[in-house]
Symmetry: C2
Subunit: 607 residues, 2 copies
């Protein structure tokens, strides 16, 4: 299991490395291709992102498949270790990377732009390299990591639940040995069908003569979904598992549809031309406080559609599965698998965003002319929408995966009820629910503390390095990168320790059922805080951009200053705390599942 | 039941009316008494607040007792109607009053202080009367209402649970008829003992020759607690219910102690001389955004001690009760009763705060001299601490009451498990958990919308009434009061409708167990959001005050401007949304309990 853990971390790291390398190269190439026109530039950017998308899902599925091939259905806990390793690395990339990128961002802005008065990304700023590195870490590697651990955890959760169900079926001689194996590995097959569908769907991502990049991306997403549904139906049909097949197919489709709906409704709350952003931008006219209150409120309201989506997906996959004799818990797990199966296409569309954003920046800085910049703008607008949709999707999908993981935990420890009328469960639920808000707050404070260290270093350099302001001397970039890195690692300690110790403490003191309550509580508030933080952050960001486009006084107005405050508050919300929560709850659920046998044996059971 | 509902509203309204009348009179009298010295002024202020404290608990207990006397143990649902009425009025006072007071506050400040540049509370400001009325509504009536509905709901919940347990005992002939009645009315007796203890405790509230008012208030609170414990022990002992008595006594004390611990730890997070406030004040130096992030984070972390307190109180009262053969659910309900029993003293200390605050203002405005103002300051400082403690206490106590109400609901519908592995329960928990954040956001947006209406009216008056700025013409105060009132009522509609419809929808569609999940989910996030909002708001307020006292640049500095942004964000958090949530979740739990018989009969049960 320890080796599987290392393998999991390694696979994730490799995928992130491939993706990031391809993305950084695609930046320049896209800018260059834009000189020949939109039709030339778009595929460069999109396929640059697709490297990330496909390498992530490919590595994940490969790792799980190889381990299953070696150890077979009897030792699925080995694959739990793989998942744990992937999540640990994801936690490192997202929470650590999130602290890193915001530390650098805040310090570069506060000292450079505000105190010294030099432009953004000015090479005289000692924090500029750390800031640029942070952007790439957060936008490309972080985003991929945001989904990979859910992808793996969801797969293994479905396999564990499937095996438990298949065990009962084979004991009563209801199925053959072949069907047994099919039920266990079906989550892998569905995910594989999703990868093939993604590759086929990518062929549809083409801008016509006057076509828009946004429409092209959407066409890709929708055709992937349709191809995936057809392919999955065919696979299940030819496997010949009878009625079970229909139930499993419908559960998959329920998950798929719920994912799309969640993504689209999230877009409403963060899109630059919709009421939430417009009203928040307008609220900036009356000052920073009203901007904050407006963004906070709409961000909070934005939890409603995804939460309802998760509820509907859970109920639909449960009852559709049960209708055809499939174990309903397995149905929910399969719904989660269906929701994330087309991840290859979704990450590709998402990674397209930062690539065209950077390409636009390169075009501006290297003076490639008005026309090229205009093309860059068109590409970029489509990227923002794609990013918003996949962000909502990521959180919704993560929620359903963790729900599946919660069910898998119950299977591993062999409990059938987690009764909210039991005081130990109540204790577990309360402590669990407390974790996500607590961990978010710790991460945000970490950004503040680390940023403060870096601000002092930047100030010191401007004071002590002669000729720096005049551009005659080079700043010590490495010192800032060093502070950002070491600080991020140091600050990461406490939240990570809490995320690992808390489920163990609840489990060993109050027993397995209470630990189930703990997981349920952490999933509940984890989803709510992750959604609220991601969406508030996104809408503050866009409200600022809307004002910068010339509305309500434009750049430099009082409204703009107020919107900048909102954007700065939103930054650690959406880039540090929000995206870390998904992984935090996944890690807690995996800790619970991995240690479940020990907890079941050694827990102090009292009462 | 409809009559009981009206009676409940009426009793609460009467108590609030008495309290508010006494408090407003005590303002002037305290200022006047301060001319003769601290020792003369203190008792005037404290006993002014005590009118509020004692009339609230008195009316509440009187109402419940009279209804019990008329209808007896067989029709406890009548008393549920009484509780429902009290909560409906409390919701009106807190959510409606919260919108009212913040509407007026924001408009008076933004137009008066910021746009026109006249001082605070200037009679030329058309919004000034609405603002002053709002302060009294929020601080005195709202605060009382914040606790009264918990007090009543907790009592009736304990009686329902006690009766269910007593029913099983008498069926097996384990107890006599007398013991049966005792077990049902014991919550009333414990509450009565708390009122007597409060009156005795008040006798200890005395400032010696050089004594401090803060110490006097604390002495009152602690002696009330001790007297209450002794009195309760004696009452239970003389009732002669054997071992049961010991279990019930220990559960009561567990609740009492947990309440005090929660109150004291909350104080840590909002107190002006503790790290959270100091660091937030310091963060203001780097701008509004960092101030917001710091306040948000510490406010979020502040949920940890009360949540752990609730967990410990629940477990302790459960196991202590079970240890002596008492039904453990009854034990938890009794713990909740014990926690709120000394409410008379707590509200008195709390109401003292706004009285001395206003008295200080009166002393300043009417030029009573340095010495009197200094006495006012001393009185005020003690009031702030008392207020912080009772606020934390209120939320913690409310949480335990609603937990008891949740148990009472289960008793009413006759369910013994609310299983988190059941998809209908999962759906209920998710939808329930979504409610408190959603309702908070709606209330905050309501403040913004209503404030905008009033701002336009204030601007109009300054523009259209000739001679207003010169003080020659009177503004139309009534128009502003009208906007605040009508707007608050109008904006209150949607949140209230949601709070009533949502539990009914979940209950009728998914059945009684899912509705149990709904309540559990709403309690969970309700507590978290109520605590985070109240404490963040409180600490932003004190961070601003700390800077105004001359630190980090003092009034008018950049740090101060940043702290004002935090304070403005915190205002609707702590005065509108935060305190409304307790009542919202109480109302939802009562809706569930009152409609339980209908739901059990007519729910669509599927799956």
């Amino acid at each position: 299991m320890a080796l599987a853990y290392i393998l999991g971390s390694f696979c994730t790291a490799i995928a992130a490395f491939f993706g990031m390398t391809a993305a950084t190269r695609a930046n320049v190439k896209t800018a260059n291709a834009a000189r020949k026109g939109l039709n030339q530039a778009f595929p460069v950017a999109f396929y640059g992102g697709a490297v990330m998308g496909l390498s992530i899902v490919g590595m994940a599925l490969l790792g799980v498949s190889v381990l299953y091939y070696i150890y077979g259905p009897e030792q699925l806990d080995i694959i739990l270790g793989f998942s744990f390793g992937a999540s640990a690395l994801a936690l490192f990339a997202k929470a650590g990377g999130g602290i890193y990128t915001k530390t650098a961002d805040i310090s570069a802005d506060l000292v450079g732009k505000v105190e010294i008065g030099i432009p953004e990304d000015d090479p005289r700023n000692p924090a500029v390299i750390a800031d640029n590195v942070g952007d790439n870490v957060g936008d490309v590697a972080g985003m991929g990591a945001d989904l990979i651990d859910s992808y793996i955890a969801g797969t293994i959760a479905a396999m564990i639940i499937g095996k438990a169900w298949a065990d009962t079926l084979i004991e009563s001689n209801a199925i053959t040995n072949t069907t047994y194996v099919i039920l266990v590995i079906l989550p892998l097959l569905i995910k594989a069908s999703g990868i093939i569908a993604s590759v086929i769907g990518m062929l549809f991502v083409r801008v016509g003569k006057r076509g828009s990049p946004g429409a092209a991306l959407n066409r890709g997403t929708f055709s992937t979904g349709i191809v995936f549904a057809v392919l999955t139906f065919l696979i299940i049909h030819f496997l010949g598992i009878g009625d079970y097949g229909l139930g499993i197919f419908f559960a998959t489709v329920a998950g798929l549809i719920a994912g799309v709906v969640i993504g689209i409704t999230t877009d409403f709350f963060t899109s630059i031309d919709r009421p939430p952003v417009l009203k928040t931008a307008e609220a900036s006219k009356t000052g920073a406080a009203i901007n904050i209150l407006s963004g906070f409120s709409y961000g909070t309201i934005s939890i409603v559609p995804p939460v309802l989506g998760i509820v509907v997906a859970t109920l639909a996959s449960w009852y559709l599965a049960a209708r055809f004799g499939v174990d309903p818990v397995y149905g929910v797990a399969i719904g989660a698998v269906g929701m994330l199966a087309t991840l290859g296409m979704i990450i590709s569309a998402d990674a397209y965003g930062p690539i065209v954003d950077n390409a636009k920046g390169i075009a501006e800085q290297s003076g490639l002319g008005e026309e090229v910049i205009e093309i860059g703008d068109k590409l970029d607008a489509a990227g923002n929408t794609a990013k918003a949709i996949s962000k909502g999707f990521a959180i919704g999908a993560a929620a359903l995966q963790v729900l599946a993981l919660f069910a898998a935990y119950a299977v591993v420890v062999g409990i059938e009820t987690v009764n909210l009328m039991d005081p130990k469960v109540i204790a577990g639920v309360f402590v669990g629910a407390m974790m996500p808000p607590l961990l978010s707050a710790l991460l945000i404070l970490a950004v503040g503390r680390n940023g403060f260290r870096m601000i002092q270093e930047v100030r010191r350099q401007f004071k002590e390095i002669p000729g720096l302001m005049e551009g005659k001397a080079k700043p010590d970039y490495a010192a800032c990168v060093d502070i950002a890195t070491k600080g991020a690692l140091k600050e990461l300690m406490l939240p990570c320790v809490i995320a690992i110790i808390a489920p163990l403490a609840v489990g060993f003191i109050f027993g397995t059922e209470a630990l189930g309550g703990f997981l349920a509580g952490s999933i509940l508030t984890g989803i709510i805080f992750a959604l609220f933080m991601a969406n508030s952050g996104g809408l503050w960001d866009n409200a600022k951009k809307y004002i910068e486009a010339g509305e309500f006084g434009g750049k430099g107005s009082e409204a703009h200053k107020a919107a900048v405050v909102g954007d700065t508050v939103g930054d650690p919300f959406k880039d540090t705390a929000g995206p870390s929560l998904n992984t935090m709850i996944t890690v807690m659920a995996l800790v619970a599942s991995v240690f479940a046998p020990l907890i079941a044996t050694f827990a102090l059971v009292w009462g």
